[in-house]
């Protein structure tokens, strides 16, 4: 056992994470490995017994079960073909406007976000559905990448969202309350994306033209209206079934997520018929994704235990309190800045599990509304999905785009959208009821 000074421990632990991640090792194992090494150095081997409790608690955590259900629900929904129908509906709806496909993509993402809570799924399916159409009609490729990646991140802010589930677990605030709080900022952000696309394509229609005339007149207005209405019904059922049952108290969030997965399963059968292979693929891929997410939670949880135990938390705390001359808003800004910077390098799940035990007590001492503060972090972390080099939305996208689009194209495309996310963070900063009003009337 060595007595590691807390400042040194902080620097070394984060440094080792950086080294481990850049060597391509899975995030979960890097976190857990760093925790083990520093636990050994600082505490000696016997103290590592606490790891078992940490792992077991995460794996039997009742709130986190919702994550597994939401992931399977997204898989079923992806196989049901509903996404494609909704996307086509949106293209009919926005057809005559400039940037029709981009607008359809954003609105589709917002709707999908209200149905599911998993980010990878919407980025991937939107890339598959919208990207070929956008390229076909000569949309600017940077612009297209930005729209899709940014739209995909909406699913973590608009409820249901597995990120908000984790935040509820870490903060002790109910899932239902955080879901209600995320809705306002999510809608505002979607609207900002929408307005941005309208402005950009009006100024320069070359970036994103309207749908060509021949495509638009293929169906009469009546047929289109019918198509749109019919295909929005499943989305409405899912939204009411999941969010409705949580907010009216019919089901706990965990149960509601199970109900949602079941509804999605029914849709899959209704629309595509029961296909044994497709069903098994859904179950297996959901199990892998769930395990990946949970492994990171476990890794981050062990890491945090050691990090706080070695005094790293106090170091971070002290840094934030150094800035108390800036007042409480200044300190809030410092915390947000730290999270934003961490978002460039570290995985969002790890950020939630590492920063919450340190930042939430500080926010409490400073007298911030905890719900507002958490949603601020959620909006902030949304940017981390888009911020290179480690932005998950970008990676998901890269795996599905046609080869002529490079990672650099995607980086270029998302930049304006990160700025829009920061603007929405600013709006939420000055107008806190955006996050706190809805929970105050929905949750008694």
């Amino acid at each position: 056992m060595i007595d590691i000074p807390p400042v040194l421990a902080t620097i070394l632990m984060f440094g080792s994470i950086l080294v481990g991640l850049s060597l391509g090792h899975p995030v979960a194992f890097v976190l857990a490995g760093v925790a083990t090494i520093f636990g050994l150095l600082g505490w000696g081997p016997d103290a590592l017994y606490i790891f078992t409790g940490r792992v077991f608690d995460a794996a039997t955590n009742h709130i986190l079960i919702a994550i597994a259900n939401f992931i399977l629900m997204a898989s079923f929904l992806g196989k049901s073909g509903i996404s494609e129908r909704i996307f086509r509906s949106m293209m009919y709806l926005f057809g005559p406007m400039n940037g029709a496909i981009a607008l359809a993509a954003i609105v589709w993402c917002a709707l999908e976000a209200a149905c599911t809570g998993v980010i990878g799924a919407s980025v991937v399916s939107m890339t598959i559905l919208a990207m070929p159409v956008m390229l076909k009609y000569h949309y600017d490729k940077h612009f297209s990448c930005g729209c899709i990646a940014a739209g995909g991140t909406l699913s973590i802010l608009i409820p249901p969202s597995i990120m908000l589930v984790m935040m509820a677990d870490q903060s002790g605030i109910s899932v239902g309350k955080l879901f209600a709080a995320g809705l306002g900022p999510g809608v505002v952000l979607s609207a900002l994306f929408f307005v941005y696309i309208v402005i950009m394509t009006t100024v320069n229609p070359k970036k994103g033209p309207a749908l060509p005339f021949e495509e638009r007149v293929a169906l009469s207005i009546g047929q289109k209206a019918k198509y749109i209405l019919v295909n929005l019904v499943p989305a409405a059922i899912l939204i009411i079934g999941v969010l409705g049952s949580i907010w009216t108290g019919v089901a706990t969030p965990t149960e509601a997520s199970g109900v949602g997965a079941f509804i999605a399963f029914i849709f899959m059968i209704v629309y595509e018929g029961f296909d044994r292979k497709a069903f098994l693929d859904c179950v297996w891929s959901a199990a892998r994704t769930n395990c990946m997410v949970m492994a990171i939670i476990i890794g981050a949880s062990v890491f945090t235990a050691v990090f706080l135990g070695l005094g790293g938390g106090d170091v971070v705390r002290e840094i934030i309190y150094r800035f108390d001359f800036l007042g409480k808003w200044g300190m809030c800004g410092i915390m947000m800045f730290m999270i934003f910077i961490m978002g460039f390098i570290i995985d969002w799940i790890a950020i939630v599990y590492i920063t919450f035990p340190i930042f939430l007590p500080i926010a409490n001492e400073l007298g911030f509304d905890p719900t507002w503060f958490i949603i601020m972090i959620a909006v902030n972390l949304q940017a981390s999905f888009l911020s290179p080099p480690v932005g998950y939305a970008l990676f998901y996208m890269k795996t599905t785009v046609p080869p002529e689009i490079t990672l650099a194209d995607i980086y270029k495309g998302v930049f304006p959208f990160i700025l829009i996310q920061l603007i929405s963070l600013g709006i939420l900063w000055v107008y806190s009821p955006l996050a706190t009003y809805l929970p105050s009337i929905l949750i008694k």
């Binding site: 481990g20 991640l21 850049s22 060597l23 391509g24 090792h25 899975p26 995030v27 979960a28 194992f29 890097v30 857990a32 490995g33 760093v34 925790a35 083990t36 090494i37 050994l40 590592l48 017994y49 790891f51 078992t52 792992v55 077991f56 995460a58 794996a59 039997t60 955590n61 009742h62 986190l64 079960i65 597994a68 259900n69 399977l72 049952s245 019919v250 089901a251 965990t254 149960e255 997520s257 199970g258 109900v259 098994l280 179950v283 297996w284 959901a286 199990a287 892998r288 994704t289 769930n290 395990c291 990946m292 492994a295 990171i296 476990i298 062990v302 995985d347 080099p389 480690v390 998950y392």
Partner: protein, 170 residues
């Protein structure tokens, strides 16, 4: 060489089958959630057992599939630098990181995990709830899951070594 190939094949098959079987825990969770909503809301008779059984299923779905997820390389990692290295360098890096990060973590977790489960067996620990069920089924999953992860890790390590020495990918 043939023996090595057989060993890797067996290890992979174990991961694959365990993963595919234990994935069904998620389906079970959903079925039980529906059952609970049904009995509580429609029949007005909440059960006392679903809450814990669902948690046990989740425990299985998470812990018993870690090796399977590793086999499919589905654990999120950052390809940014790593992706540009030639395959041989990647193999060397993998050997280093597997030992340094994953290896050291799982050896302690396996050792303490066995102790953790054994304690629960020894005292026939029960949950402090109305259901008052045994805890050992869930706690045993921890060392078992870690053991499955170790098996897959060994398979991956053998693969890298064979690639480095013989230049062939198994």
């Amino acid at each position: 060489m043939r023996n090595i190939r057989v060993i890797v094949k067996i290890l992979d098959a174990v991961s694959e089958w365990c993963g595919k079987i234990f994935s069904w825990f998620i389906v079970t969770i959903i079925a039980l959630s529906l059952y609970e909503v049904f009995t509580r809301r429609l029949l007005g008779k909440p059960t006392i057992w679903t809450h814990e059984i669902i948690a046990y299923c989740f425990c299985g779905a998470v812990l018993l599939t870690i090796g399977y997820t590793l086999k499919h390389r589905a654990h999120a990692n950052v390809d940014l630098l790593y992706g540009y290295f030639p395959p041989r360098v990647q193999a060397v890096l993998d050997l280093v990181t597997y030992t340094l990060f994953l290896g050291i973590f799982v050896s302690f977790l396996l050792y303490f995990g066995i102790k953790f489960a054994a304690t629960s067996w020894a005292i026939m620990e029960r949950t402090p709830s109305a259901f008052n069920f045994y805890v050992f089924p869930a706690k045993t999953m921890l060392p078992v899951g870690v053991f499955l992860l170790v098996l897959q890790m060994i398979s991956d390590i053998i693969r890298r070594i064979v690639f480095l020495v013989k230049g062939e990918s198994l």
